[in-house]
């Protein structure tokens, strides 16, 4: 058995971790790659599988990941055609956040806007990719209270893990705090922090 080659790819931007891992596994039977982000983790894992290695990944307490690549006998098939995906995954490392700032979608006609926001939320329930967090403020908070026509949709989203932050100031302003039907009463600190850290921020 040969030594384990350690590749420290912490702090390196995509596609560097993959490039280094690939070079290492081409000349060593066992390679341990250390990375510090999900994109690099996924790319290195994909590389290992593509090259026909045994792949074991472990998350460490300090937030880094160690990926053990072990070459199977005769493996290393492809040498050139691995393309790491750096673009979208890399920028969307933060949470996917949807901001609902009104109980309507779009400007111009309120009746139509009300229809559209309901259609938007209903469609969101059917999407495979759900947001990590939804933020409601201004008249958007009216969607989260009891009697809201989209309450079931929002509850459904919450039940599959979507975190809902509802602006407390806004609930207070409309005097509907006691009617909150979904999500948690939140504040500007949490709202701003969540928006600042978002990998993607979407407003209907």
């Amino acid at each position: 058995m040969s030594e384990i080659k350690i590749v420290n790819a912490k702090g390196l931007a995509c596609p560097q971790p993959v490039v280094l891992a690939k070079l290492a596994i081409e000349t060593n039977e066992k390679v341990k790659v250390i990375v510090d982000n999900d994109t690099a983790l996924e790319n290195v894992k994909r590389l290992g599988k593509k090259l026909g290695c045994d792949v074991k990944a472990e998350k460490k307490n300090d937030g880094t990941f160690e990926i053990d690549l072990t070459r199977k006998a005769g493996a290393i098939k492809s040498k050139e055609d691995f393309v790491p995906s750096c673009s979208t995954q890399a920028v969307s490392s933060g949470p996917f956040v949807i901001v609902i700032s009104e109980d309507k979608m779009g400007r111009g006609n309120d009746e139509l806007g009300s229809v559209l926001i309901r259609a938007f939320l209903n469609t969101l329930c059917l999407q495979n990719e759900k947001p990590d967090v939804m933020i409601f403020y201004n008249t958007g908070v009216k969607l989260t209270i009891q009697g809201s026509e989209v309450l079931d949709d929002l509850k459904g989203l919450e039940s599959v893990g979507v975190k809902m932050l509802v602006c407390g100031t806004c609930l207070n302003y409309f005097d509907i705090k006691d009617k909150l039907g979904v999500g948690i009463v939140s504040n500007m600190y949490d709202i701003l922090e969540t928006m600042s850290k978002a990998g993607r921020l979407l407003t209907p």
Partner: protein, 77 residues
Amino acid sequence: MNAQTSYNVILFKSVSYALKAENILKSEGLPYKLIPVPKQISSDCGICLRFDPTFQNKIKAALANKVEIEEIRTLAN
């Protein structure tokens, strides 16, 4: 309502018919949900009213002679 194995939708000629029907069902206290027209029916950005099939007769009666319905369809969940 979402747990049902199938559901019905009422399709209308235009958004305004759907809204008129919605107002009627709301005032009658009948359960419905306004949803985008499912993609398998039309790729237009339309809306329709979804309802539990057990309410079909009541809903049809409520809308009769008030709102023109294009079609009622049953869809699998």
